[in-house]
């Protein structure tokens, strides 16, 4: 697909890919807990209504059923809000991960940007769980196109996959060809590097552009569209090139990309790291932009973090 400046969401990318998958693969089935509309499963459902299994508002059973469906040789895609996926944590851990079953989890409405629904719906902890689970692949697409490709890629993997999606409409920023086995370098730079994923790739690229234009600071931007397995090689190389890193994520600062990055660096290479993430707090109701501002996840916040990182070099 061509890059355009249309704002689109990653959940829409997922929905379009699922629509394609049900046409191509007779083994793909999909489940939701009464959020099939929000997950954009209605597009696939129009094509293949018999492959949709409604679980009702019962996430634990939805995940358990998906495990059973995979035992029959099917490839289930399970979709709900990220916040509600966590309700089935035990089923995800024992029935799916421990059994290494071929189930795909699509969590939508992740992060603060879900907005006015407030803290209960703004999942900021999901990656802490999924990163810690053996056998899982974690995909964290930045825009519509990348979510589309991530969903197709998930179908090709034989094992559990977690796809983190958002309702927020963002500019297209990702670049083809999509290789989820490696981090995606969206902008080259040598003074400092931003490591990010998801919605905030937009703000990160903007910060890099502003710094180059106004202050001639050269900022590399790396999109970690696959958090697990993690591309350690790219991280170490980027750290050696730039010697200062800024992690930007719409997640708690614990258990997400920041934690993973610092762990890899501690074992391999020493350089200053600044973290732009949610500081051990729950969100609240508000518009997406207001919340990103309130919780310090805006382009100016990223610019400040970059300057601090460079100063620490």
């Amino acid at each position: 697909m061509n890059q355009t400046m249309n704002k689109r969401s990653t959940r829409d990318g997922f929905g379009r890919a699922l629509e394609q998958l049900v046409k191509e693969d007779s083994n793909v089935v999909f489940l939701s807990g009464d959020l099939n509309d929000s997950l954009r499963m209605e597009w696939a459902r129009k094509i293949s209504p018999n492959k949709f299994i409604q679980s009702g508002i019962a996430e634990q059973n939805m995940v358990a059923m998906s495990a059973g469906l995979s035992l029959a040789g099917l490839t289930p895609f399970v979709g709900t809000f990220g916040a509600f996926m966590l309700r089935a944590t035990d089923q995800i851990r024992v029935s799916v991960a421990l059994s290494n079953l071929n189930v795909k989890f699509a969590s939508s409405h992740c992060g603060l940007t879900v907005g006015q629904d407030g803290a209960n719906a703004q999942v900021l902890e999901d990656l802490a769980l999924f990163q810690a689970l053996p056998n899982f692949t974690i995909l964290t697409p930045a825009d519509f196109n990348e979510a589309f490709e991530a969903t197709l890629y998930a179908q090709k993997i034989n094992g559990p996959v977690y796809i983190r999606l958002s309702r927020e409409e963002v500019n297209d920023v990702s670049e083809s060809p999509y290789d989820f086995t490696k981090a995606s370098i969206l902008r080259q730079g040598s003074d400092v590097a931003i490591l990010t994923y998801g919605n905030l790739v937009n703000q990160s690229l903007q910060a890099a552009k502003i710094l180059m234009e106004k202050e001639s600071i050269s900022v590399k931007v790396v999109n970690y569209h696959c958090l697990k397995p993690f591309d350690e090689e790219s991280l170490i190389q980027t750290a050696k090139e730039c010697n200062a890193l800024v992690i930007v994520e719409e997640h708690q600062k614990f258990g997400g990309l920041a934690s993973k990055t610092c762990q890899v660096l501690a074992e391999n290479y020493n350089c200053p790291v600044e973290i732009v993430a949610v500081e051990d707090k729950f969100g609240q109701s508000g518009k997406a932009e207001e919340l990103l501002n309130k919780y310090g996840l805006t382009t100016p916040n990223i610019i400040r973090a970059i300057k601090t990182a460079i100063a620490r070099k």
Binding site: I53, M65, V94
Partner: protein, 289 residues
Amino acid sequence: MIDDKKIEDLENIAKQIRIDIVKMTTNANSGHPGGSLGSADIFTCLYFAGIMKYDAKQPNWPNRDYFILSNGHICPVWYATLSQAGSIEYDELLTFRKLDSRLQGHPTKSFLPFVEISTGSLGQGIGAAVGLSIGLRIKEMKNRVFCSVGDGELEEGSTWEAAMAASHYNCSNLIVFCDRNGLQQNGNTEDIIGLEPLSEKYRAFGWNVLETDGNNIQKIIEAFEQAKLSKNKPTIIFFKTLMGKGVDFMENDYQWHGKPLPEDLAQKALDILNSEKNLPNPPIPQKNQ
């Protein structure tokens, strides 16, 4: 009607399974002998009375009926049954709960190929069984799904989610059976959190419900055969059993839910079990060093 000789043969298998449960759990010095002993007759019928289709040597045989042990902690009875069926070498039973054993403390798929799905955290296997039942229908396959649950396990809310879904999706290829011994880790189920009226609850949820004596070979077989006739509803069979069945000093005593017999009591238990029948001497497994 099953002839007396066949019933005697099945009873002998059940007794051998009970002997092995005692040996395995005492040898491991951990595990759950109580529910395992109580379920030995049910598992015997499931595998040796033509109830479930399986190939002892081919865990992935496409025509098999699927079995999910949702109450994974009673795996000693299942492992001992698989050994009688010839799926597991007899000597392997004494590796139960030991490092690198295929016979994990709770059934774990990556260790033993006969495990369809890892279980042990209660209330999950039944939901997986419902999904499998729906999946088999989508694939237009005729296999049945058998799922074992404990009665205490039905305190998990997820089992009721599964119960709703199974009747909503008319899972007539699903047969769940419940070891209704009335006991759980800390006492009587009705004291801990009342489950009754269980049969009425499942009927209200749209299930075909059967109740019978789970320590009576004849009645167990009849119940399973009746369950297979269900046309458009999932079936649950409540098997009334005695925890610790076959070892008088263990019977109906919840302390044996999750505690193995110490060696002296295990010997006493084996003497009781052996005295009750005329078995050919079972092979004595070598201790796993």
